[in-house]
């Protein structure tokens, strides 16, 4: 496993993400019109919805990495799964902070047991459990396998959770899904930029976290080899 020496992909992605995020912020706050009833609070929408989407991108990476690891155990698959779960937790927290702020203005209360809210909350909890498991049980082969099982089963549950919570109780605005009320045309470019920015950010976070995990795994292997060769002492 030799690292590619001349790969400019990551630096390019970093620059691209930075430019898109700045452009998106500029478009959201300076170009998109201020909504008539919600006022400035409506700007949360441009961050909240793309963050929810980015959370599921992280969950998807975690699922893919976990399936890959269960089929062919490798450091790379495990690193992608772990990085995906961490990205899902990060974006999930953004969703869970911005959502109630929006709700406080729009519905007069911070939380309701609306299907989408419940689904997001339960999904975030699964990925928090995943990161807890990884943080406090070590990085052995067995721990990785159990995490992968959680990554697969947690994601397999998501679509059913989404359906089931609709059955349980439902006032979440359907702005962009089918049957939604719609968005003023002037707001659409800003939202599109928001989606692009969060997509790039999600890829960037998963990629860089996976690189760190891979480097840590490589370091562990090197340490083991060194110990086997009689170099150094076990600390």
């Amino acid at each position: 496993m030799t690292p590619k020496r001349h790969s400019y992909a990551l630096p390019i992605l970093i620059v691209l993400s930075a430019v898109t995020v700045v452009t998106a912020i500029q478009a959201i706050f300076l170009q998109a019109p201020v909504e008539s009833t919600m006022g400035i609070v409506q700007k949360i929408f441009y961050f909240h919805v793309p963050a929810a989407y980015a959370m599921y991108l992280g969950a998807l990476a975690c699922f893919g990495g976990s399936v890959g690891f269960l089929l062919h155990p490798s450091d790379r698959a495990d690193a992608i799964a772990k990085a995906g779960a961490q990205a899902a937790v990060t974006f999930g927290l953004i969703v869970l902070v911005t959502g109630p702020l929006w709700a406080a203005k729009a519905w007069g209360r911070y939380w309701t047991w609306d299907p989408r809210l419940t689904t997001s909350l339960l999904s975030v909890l699964v990925y928090v459990a995943y990161t807890l498991l990884r943080a406090f049980t070590g990085d052995g082969e067995a721990e990785r396998k159990f995490s992968a099982a959680l990554g697969v089963l947690g994601a397999a549950n998501l679509p059913i959770i989404h359906y089931s919570v609709q059955k349980w109780s439902g006032q979440h605005p359907r702005v962009i899904s089918q049957g939604g009320g719609g968005l003023a045309p002037a707001m659409k470019p800003s939202l599109a930029l928001g989606f692009l920015a969060f997509t790039l950010l999600a890829i960037l976070i998963v990629w860089s976290r996976a690189r760190i995990e891979l480097a840590a795994a490589r370091l562990r292997h090197l340490e083991e080899e060194a110990l086997d060769a009689g170099l150094g002492e076990e600390s």
Binding site: T118, T137, F146, V152, S164
Partner: protein, 280 residues
């Protein structure tokens, strides 16, 4: 006799009895000059006749594993007594904390039932798997000629039995404390109880083995299990609430279907993943 067969222990001994071995020893003996016998040449011929035995069927393997757990529990009563009492405590404390006047049976009782079942089930699971950790008992199970899926199903049936016993304690007690009509709701509640127990047992078995195979212990197990079980429990609570609100069982088909789908995901996932997870 039937109980013995169900518990599987004597059957297990018969099935896995060692093959008949014949060992023949030939000695050439001579005497030295002081008249002491000395063995000059000794050959051992060992004939091991292995009678071809039919491997026990998958169901028999499952019953052996489940029977083992039930037999231990019948001898000690530990898991059911401790987690059952814990569940009773949760019900009593929740009744104290949440009793909300005459509307409480319909609104609060479903949550009390399933929350106490969930907490007690996680406790029961921890204990059931701690037994496998003691004296490295689980390694004995893994090296025995039992298929991985049968091992999973057997352990899950054992856990399911514990969960059902806990549910059988919790539901009547909640009926008593909140005053809902137990006889009227019994068939529907029994159905929900069995469906929820399947999901709890399958997930709990898949991740319970984690406490044997990794450094993770009870707290991490609870942290992993409860988010995974949240949808099953939420569905059970919603179904029970509708039931108490006067909706007949045949109109609750969607909830039953949902519980079945969650059970299906966990049972199929568990059967498929268990083998890979317990390999070292």
């Amino acid at each position: 006799m039937v109980l013995c067969w169900l518990l599987g222990a004597p059957r297990a001994r018969r099935v896995f009895a060692p093959p008949n071995d014949h060992v023949a020893i030939h000695r050439d003996v001579s005497c030295d000059d002081r008249g002491v016998k000395v063995v000059v040449n000794e050959t051992h011929t060992a004939t091991i006749t292995t009678t071809a035995r039919r491997a026990p069927s998958w169901v028999a393997q499952v019953l052996v594993v489940a029977g083992k757990d039930v037999a231990i529990e019948l001898a000690t009563g530990e898991v059911v007594a401790t987690s059952g009492f814990f569940a009773v405590l949760v019900v009593v404390l929740a009744s104290l904390a949440f009793y909300a006047g005459p509307e409480a049976p319909e609104r609060v009782a479903p949550g009390v039932i399933w929350l106490s079942v969930a907490f007690a089930a996680v406790l029961a699971l921890s204990r059931a798997w701690a037994r496998e950790r003691e004296e490295r008992a689980f390694e004995g199970l893994v090296v025995s000629p039992i298929s991985r899926s049968a091992l999973f199903a057997g352990k899950a049936i054992g856990v399911m039995a514990f969960t059902l016993v806990v549910e059988a304690m919790v539901i009547p007690l909640t009926a008593l404390l909140f005053g809902f009509d137990l006889v009227k709701f019994a068939p529907a509640l029994a159905l929900f109880a069995v469906l929820a127990a399947i999901g709890i047992a399958a997930t709990g078995t898949l991740f319970g083995v984690m406490t044997v195979r990794t450094r993770a212990r009870d707290l991490v197990l609870a942290a992993v299990l409860l988010p995974l079980l949240a949808p099953t429990l939420g569905t059970a609570v919603a179904a029970t609430r509708e039931l108490f609100g006067g909706v007949p069982l045949h109109d609750l088909g969607d909830y039953v279907l949902l519980l079945l789908v969650f059970d299906g995901v966990f049972v199929i996932g568990g059967m498929g993943l268990f083998g890979a997870l317990i390999e070292t």
